[in-house]
Symmetry: C2
Subunit: 307 residues, 2 copies
């Protein structure tokens, strides 16, 4: 198995923050191309009411298509137990429930208090355990490194919520830098604190943003403390529309370039991945596509060096 799992979140996180609604055929072509490039986990959508996010209204159909790819982990976001029921009915492999460390942000984003989200987590854990197939349930602590509404988020708060999520029955906790506030020292410190509280095997993934340009530096910090899964969005599509001022997922292309250049195997064929941008460029002509490596191109001798 490749050493590092790059989890592509563009079809969910990217699309939810832009206005255009992609037809199902483009979403499936995009997913197929990602898989062909070697991507092994894709967050393909979110089971939220269609009136809230019409861009993701066809998530069940996207899941059904994505399930055809053997070896692909089909991940979805679920805001509550109703969403989880739909996700399980669709057959998603991995369900992620966000729990914002900032209660202000939680109320704004999900209209729920911490206690209410934790009740949801317990209900979803029960649903997952009684599902007819193996489901992985992640509780993702968002605004884990700071909040545009509350400011500083303490390490203690993040640890407390990670423990509460584990107690509610999640299989794993993730941490999200929703607002792009994280710095490398903080990433190391918070991850270590959560690892100490719930065990290293229960926190393996980070969702980092590049809002202030520190995305890849924060990945490097995560690698240093044993993180092996990183979320990213092809062409940097997306962000969190509910956190004012937040934007900018890590660009998958730049992330894969960094990891592969470092000799860390992602299982992803970078030239093929760079080609997938063409699908987005054609389907979303008015959306900016981000990324440094796509503009600069691969270093001369890069393919040779990687064998």
């Amino acid at each position: 198995m490749p050493a590092i799992l790059v989890s592509e979140v563009g079809p969910r996180d990217g699309l939810q923050s832009i206005d255009p609604i992609l037809p199902l055929s483009v979403k499936t072509a995009w997913i197929d191309a990602l898989v062909a490039a070697g991507v092994r986990e894709i967050e393909v959508g979110s089971f939220v009411p269609a009136k809230l996010l019409p861009q993701l209204a066809d998530t069940a159909a996207v899941v059904a298509h994505a399930l055809k790819h053997s070896g692909l982990t089909v991940a979805v976001l679920v805001p509550n137990a109703r969403g989880a029921e739909a996700a399980l009915a669709a057959g998603a492999h991995k369900l992620t429930l966000p729990l914002s460390a900032s209660e202000t942000h939680s109320l704004r984003n999900l209209r729920r208090t911490h206690a209410q989200v934790l009740e949801d987590a317990a209900a979803i854990a029960t649903l997952c355990k009684s599902a007819a197939y193996d489901v992985h349930f992640e509780g993702s602590v968002s605004t884990a490194f700071g909040c545009t509404l509350e400011g500083v988020v303490t390490e203690r708060k993040v640890v407390e919520l990670a423990e509460a999520l584990m107690a509610a029955g999640v299989d794993e906790v993730g941490l999200s830098d929703t607002t792009g506030y994280a710095n490398p020292a903080q990433v190391k410190s918070v991850v270590r604190a959560v690892h100490a509280a719930i065990g290293t095997q229960h926190l393996t993934g980070l969702h980092l943003h590049n809002t202030r340009g520190l995305g890849l530096a924060n990945v490097l910090a995560g690698l240093d403390v044993g993180i092996t899964t990183f979320d990213a969005s092809l062409a940097g599509l997306g962000g969190c529309p509910f956190a004012p001022g937040a934007s900018g997922n890590i660009v998958t292309e730049d992330l894969v370039f960094m990891l592969e250049a470092m000799g860390l195997d992602t299982g992803i064929d970078l030239p093929r991945l760079l080609d997938v941008r063409k699908i987005l460029a054609a389907a979303l002509p008015d959306e900016p596509l981000y990324g440094f490596t796509p503009d600069a191109g691969l270093p001369l001798g890069f393919a040779v060096a990687r064998g």
Copy 2:
């Protein structure tokens, strides 16, 4: 003393790669504002023939102005002994001679072989040692992490040139990722190899680019192996016009944000530094200004957190 020295290279590296010629009064206002924000080292120009780089033709006058700031290290680039003579006549505190690890790039950039540049280094070292004041002479190995013309640059070649520069009499060796090819694992490995060869005290600074988005991750790698000086350019102005495809200095604002957020003291007041952009925006209305932190703004509570 602050823990980390951020060396601003915009007035040299930035200006040499754009067409507009800034009047002396703008350059000095820019430098004054940088110093007021806490910047302690600025590469203010280059002693090259005016016909090659008319943008830097007034370097002697810029040096004369910059010297008025007590505590500021006034650095300049010199391509050869003639440039060094002019730099010493002007009173520059620090002279940097580039030596490209790629001989192809060296011939293209300076029109000199390695042997010729090393002869220059020895001549300049002699000039510096006989100067009437204390001068710091750095030999900077450019294309140290790969070359757009030659491709891979071996660690052995970089070590060999670092040793040759020390033998020629430089006070210190620097490493430049001229082409934006470096990755964090490589930065650590090359720095460690050079440290082992010439001593940690003789390699304290890196000049990194953000061409493929890895600039700050590479800084983090440098910090991990004891590097304490990082070059950067306000608003990311500049790059190397002689290395095709190369561009993009690290943005000073993003670098300072990362370091200060990590609790590493730079001595720089970030809000004041962000204000300095206005000088560039007004003087260079047609040049793109880069940087994530300036767009996103400082995190809520950032100033409070830094106390």
